[in-house]
Symmetry: C2
Subunit: 149 residues, 2 copies
């Protein structure tokens, strides 16, 4: 079991290997972000940034969350959810065939006085593709259980 | 057709009526955020914030993006994607049965010197449920086509 107390500021971990599938890119975009360049090869080729079919940035966020959740599960960690995100940047397109991983650094920790059972851990996340290019960066605040005394 | 030039700073619009379905909450969470409180009623009841089955915060972001995309399509607006998000806060849980809408204010606009065909529009977004409670706030930067001269 891993609790709030077990996270050290400055610690960096790298994990995940999410393979981006073309069908999944189109399925996500159809439901949540049906812009042409996430659905259609010709429209993506005409886009000044993408050049070819690229995943929705929100889909990339979903993939990141899945890698975090799987990592936390392996780790015996109890997340109780998140409060927010700062400085989210989609720095490069994510394409079908990419394999993504996450680098997570513990930036800071804090404890709310009103809720003694939980603590907040602020992470800096960088998402990398198979060529170690950064495709997304963000800071997220995660709610974690405190170790029972 | 609506271009970068057609957005005015300070303008506020409200749109969207996204009905949150239980099956969709569980489907999204299974794929992208399989934490217990997004999948299982008993686990959600034990969570200090949710109390009952609640949507993944990233799922809410997907719903917001869908409302934006539908609005832009009706509006004849050309989005070319986004660059990032700041100050994203999940302020209240989103539950099956909720109906969400978006309030969008144009905060600022800018034009990159290197790419004369596009402009950046910075929006403040608030997402509200059927009781007009704010469930999510964020600032997003959207890339838009400039009017051909």
């Amino acid at each position: 079991m891993r609790y709030f107390e077990d996270y050290e500021e400055g610690r960096v971990e790298r994990f995940g290997a999410y393979e981006v599938k073309r069908d999944e890119v189109i399925d996500f975009a159809s439901k949540y972000d049906p812009q042409r360049f996430h659905l259609d090869d010709a429209a993506a080729a005409a886009n000044p940034i993408f050049g070819r079919l690229a995943a929705s940035g929100w889909h990339t966020c979903g993939m990141v969350m899945r890698m975090l959740t799987d990592h936390w599960t392996e780790d015996g960690h109890f997340s109780e959810g998140g409060t927010g995100v700062d400085e989210l940047r989609w720095t490069r397109p994510v394409y079908p065939g990419d394999v993504l991983s996450v680098e997570a650094e513990v930036l800071s920790k804090s404890t709310p006085k009103s809720k003694p059972a939980i603590g907040f851990v602020n992470f800096r996340l960088a998402v990398l593709n198979q060529d170690d290019e950064v495709v997304l960066t963000m800071k997220v605040t995660n709610i974690q259980r405190r170790r029972p005394s």
